[in-house]
Symmetry: C2
Subunit: 658 residues, 2 copies
């Protein structure tokens, strides 16, 4: 029977307890327990605790505890450069795994890089540059063992769209490159700053559903863009929405399509999709789809070189610079409007790139069960993009498709990224000129077959099954990208994600509780239809912290439960409600507005001669209620440890029969 | 003890139950209960239920249920025009109360109106206009019985600041008035639309703490602005921040201050503050501070008229138009930039005005225990401002100070607003010319004494005591208004409020639970230091729905609890943890990211040979876990109705001794 009278106020609860113990009631021992008040914490302590839980939730200083100074320095260096940690245990068997994986992802990345650079409206060599320097930096600073770094489709498209809104990539080619590197620089700064300030949790405001929709939409958009290369159309729209693209495609059906291009493209697309299918059917053949793109490039390039198909309207790469990354320090501009535009574009690209990289990192870390510090990863990715922006690279991040191949090829550490980097270096130094005759249609086919994997219809179906509101967010982002533009789709994704959070806190669930027969357990009567209401008592559970956003709603919703119940009782001529028990277990926190709402609830109930009773308020809540003198207002003997005890005190007759 | 195996899977739980019943365990009957699955709802039903709970939480159609058509029409009309409902029971005794209250607030509003119009950079008659039409409209459409409608200090200042950012009120006087009415029109549209679309809950995103800070800051800013009139300074800054104002004040100390003005102002300010003090000390003398402003105006006007003080540098009102509101339909402009600017300014003013009016309405409704429909109120306030914008009124809303006087003077219905309106009508028609000699210093004194009441230092202190983060929001808004500007202060208030919501959902609380001795109750060991940990079992409670915003945090936080516990156990050479029980009672919902995090948690625990056990998942959660096949993953016999039952199954030995 538990009571809750810390200061020895008049105690009807314990009277009820003794009453019940004479009836053989079973929970008598509980009467020694009161609703506990947590120990008081000083303001500064409370503040730093909150700050620590918010920013250092992963307790990053834990390993440094009780260590001597020199050890701390080594740990600190290892923290910044994880290679110092895992490098000491590196051995030949690991190298074997990394070598195979590195060579495989290199063969996949080279053709993808050339294609993705075109998505960003940049010359093909920039794609290769971005697969050389960033993976090297990441492999010494990053802590994911499986991620494959380089340019990716979605970020390339996003960057290309945002950049061409500001500068024309054809007529103002030089300014375009300047803005691209400036944006990349700011993207790196943003990423590193988020990690350094431990604000990495901000990227979690983009919900899983919104990401699924956004990625799917971006994949469709990217595939549609490839129709230009795939069909050999020369005059193609600059817009990315499906309607403009389709108009472009159908408008040029009679004089714009090139049948030779379509033939080459289709043949190789069929080949690529077939290898993809094989790789999916037999996991051990994962390397077939991984090297298929490079084989396609080699075969088609040879074919064009031999047949001189470029003279029959088959568009080819034409020119690709030879040699490794030139310095681009002097192409980053902070003057004029470059800084503002670059910052804005960099910020957006940085967030999308981070979302992708962190999602990949976490997925594979969970598979191999190692911990990944999101904030540390951001510092690594940021540093890599800052250095990238100075060495002619545009925004690089982790690639879904290549990371999966890397994992399946048996990579052990980020040495596979170094191997890939080395292969890209050799490619840049030696064989780029050979790409001259590579037909654009092949690049289009490679991109199409790569982005198809981003359309995760199974995830979308699961979201539909589990949460309809989430599905709306997913579809909103998807159609936003497909029918309007990448930025608008992203905006919709973020807005719906935020709106969903706000909705959750504004309209928390409430439930009527009933007694499970022959127990002292009280549960939601919707979930447990056998649960019985207690005559004369209404038990309501509030399923959320009570804050300014929902305090009025909670108050009014509780009064509505009461009104509905009273109308039902009246209709059935049953006794009226005398006690309203609010089960506070899920109410984890309350603020001044919430306390105010409880006071108003108490006042309204008093006018109806209904007594407000609280059950199991948590530590923070009971502390604040006491500070606001609400405990005195409703009487401390109306606050109980459990609903069961409250009911036994309020309606002893009905529970006696249990 | 209790099992949870709906499909008759192998049942170790009931073995434990029989084991315990032989020890005289008391909760045996619970073993008949399983974790309930709620009845499946169709998608459409679920969707409409969510929508209804979000937008129609107050169940506004409840009175129409089971009513004939004609009755529904009458109820509908009464809904739109509450006067049709309360008007039928109106009687002489109510009129007596309303008459006294109406006359009292009229005497208070007339001098305030003239002063507030100046805050909005408009001629004094516009203040009076806004106290004539809007209260009339509100009295037939509004449902608050105590609110006093008219121009208010904070909205006037906000509107004035926002308008003068766009148009200069001195050199472009006519355009300024146009934009003012256009903004008022859009403010009305915004308010009515929010109410009509039932989006009124949006104003609840401004937290109580932020409002307290904003109002206090605005009061200080308004009082500082009055130094111009109070000290008789002619060249005064247009900025509202404290530093600019103080520079203006000290810069003109030698040649700008007018001692006659200061004398008159100080004398009457002292008088007003004295009457305020008297009214506070003896509630029955509430009318003394209420009529003091009018008396001050009359006395000071007479004094200036007789002594011709205006010739000694005492600034006076000079000119005030006679006659009632002229039409301003042709002054509302939708062309050029008026529409965009007017909409933006109107939107901001509308939200602040609504916040104030709804807060007042709710406060007094709670005092007299009647219900107030926030959305309906917004329609009334919006309609009143739309009509106001066509009759030369600027944004009106409920005034804190006048509503309090209205309440204390014994108002019964909104007829008191009609009485006030009639008095303002008479004033406009008959005595406005007499205000010509009213010194500005008196208006400044009246405004200063009025806005002092907005500085709610007691509320600020309570916020400090109860919630330090809330206090930071409060001070942020306060200093934002005082040191920068009203808009920036408002922006800070909104940002901090939203950031607080986002923080709450990103970093939910988690707690370790322990067994209260001699019970089957498990509680937070921080709140109940006597609670005992169960050997071999770690019990963690997650205090929030698990969503994409916090799923990673929750997973990692639970693993951190486990790590810390295991380190402690290792140090003390105690047995290791075999079971991790997650108490799910407060987890009211979960989304796909949340389920994913649980799956990852399960995987991590498996690698450590720790079994994941869930206790009491709610209806929504268990349903989604089943849909996602998570229940199958961890095994349905690892899901229990209560923590007690889970512990008895997992660690039967330790609980036997209880």
């Amino acid at each position: 029977m538990g009571h809750s009278v810390p200061d020895g106020v008049e105690n009807k609860a314990s009277d009820a307890a003794s009453l019940h113990s004479s009836h053989g009631q079973i929970e008598n021992p509980q009467s020694v327990h009161k609703v506990g008040f947590p120990p008081r914490r000083k303001f500064f302590r409370e503040f730093t605790d909150t700050l620590k839980e918010t920013l250092f939730a992963d307790d990053p200083l834990h390993p440094y505890k009780d260590q001597p100074g020199s050890r701390k320095l080594i740990l600190g260096l290892q923290f910044l450069f994880p290679i110092l940690e895992w490098g000491r245990n590196y051995n030949f068997s690991k190298l074997k795994g990394d070598l195979v994986a590195g060579l495989t992802i290199a063969s996949l990345c080279i053709p993808q890089d050339i294609g993705y650079a075109k998505l960003a409206n940049m010359d093909p060599q920039y794609g290769l540059y971005s697969s050389f320097v960033p993976p090297l930096i990441y492999s010494v600073m990053g802590s994911s063992r499986d991620i494959a770094i380089g340019p990716v489709a979605v970020v390339s498209l996003l960057l290309g769209t945002l950049l061409q809104n500001e500068v024309d990539p054809v007529t103002q080619k030089e300014e375009y490159i300047w803005l691209a590197f400036t944006a990349t620089f700011f993207a790196g700064i943003t990423q590193a700053a988020l990690g350094f300030l431990r604000l990495g949790f901000l990227i979690e405001f983009l919900s899983h559903a919104a990401i699924v929709g956004f990625m799917g939409g971006a994949a469709i958009t990217i595939a549609l863009q490839q129709l230009k290369g795939f069909l050999g159309i020369r005059n193609f729209t600059k817009k990315s929405d499906i309607i403009s693209v389709m108009k472009s495609v159908w408008g040029s059906v009679h004089h714009g399509w090139n049948w030779e291009t379509i033939l080459i493209g289709s043949a190789f697309l069929a080949f690529l999709l077939l290898t993809k299918y094989i790789g999916k059917k037999r996991k051990s053949l994962f390397w077939v789809p991984a090297i298929a793109p490079l084989i396609s490039v080699i075969l088609s390039t040879l074919f064009v070189y031999i047949t001189h198909a470029e003279k029959h309207g088959v568009q080819i790469v034409k020119h690709i610079d030879k040699g490794i990354n030139p310095s681009s320090v002097n192409k980053i501009h902070f003057t004029g409007s470059y800084a503002a535009k670059g910052f804005k574009i960099g910020l957006i690209a940085a967030m999308v790139a981070l979302t992708e990289a962190v999602a990949i990192g976490r997925t594979f870390a969970a598979m191999k069960d190692y911990q990944l510090d999101g904030n540390k990863e951001m510092v690594a990715l940021g540093t890599m993009n800052i250095i990238g922006s100075m060495t002619s690279c545009y925004v690089a991040t982790g690639s879904f498709s290549r990371s999966a191949v890397n994992y399946m090829a048996g990579c052990q550490t980020s040495v596979s990224n170094m191997i890939m980097s080395a292969v890209v270096l050799l490619t840049l130094e030696l064989i780029t000129p050979l790409f001259k005759y590579t037909p654009n249609a092949i690049l289009a086919s490679i991109i199409i077959s790569a982005v198809i994997g981003l359309i995760d219809y199974e995830a979308a179906y699961l979201i539909w099954k589990i949460d309809k509101l989430d599905f709306i967010a997913c579809m909103g982002a998807f159609f936003g990208v497909v029918f309007i533009s990448v930025e608008i789709g992203l905006l919709i994704a973020v807005s719906i994600s935020l709106a969903k959070i706000l909705l959750q806190v504004t309209r928390p669930r409430t439930a009527l509780l009933g007694n499970l027969p022959r127990t002292t357990v009280y549960r939601n009567i919707e979930q447990y239809p056998e649960a019985l209401k207690v005559p004369g008592v209404l038990i309501v559970r509030v399923d959320s912290a009570i804050y300014f956003t929902n305090s009025n709603y909670v108050k009014e919703r509780i009064l509505r439960w009461l009104r509905d119940e009273e109308e039902q009782l009246k209709a059935k001529q049953l006794p009226r409600i005398d006690f309203l028990i609010v089960e506070m277990s899920p109410v984890t926190d309350i603020d001044t507005s919430g306390i105010h709402a409880l006071e108003e609830l108490h006042k309204s109930l008093q006018k109806r001669s209904v007594q407000l009773v609280l059950a199991n308020p948590g530590p923070v809540v009971i502390d604040k209620l006491r500070l606001a003198k609400f405990t005195e207002l409703i009487g401390q003997d109306n606050i109980f440890l459990t609903v069961g005890e409250a009911v036994m005190t309020c309606a002893p007759k009905s529970t006696e029969d249990v």
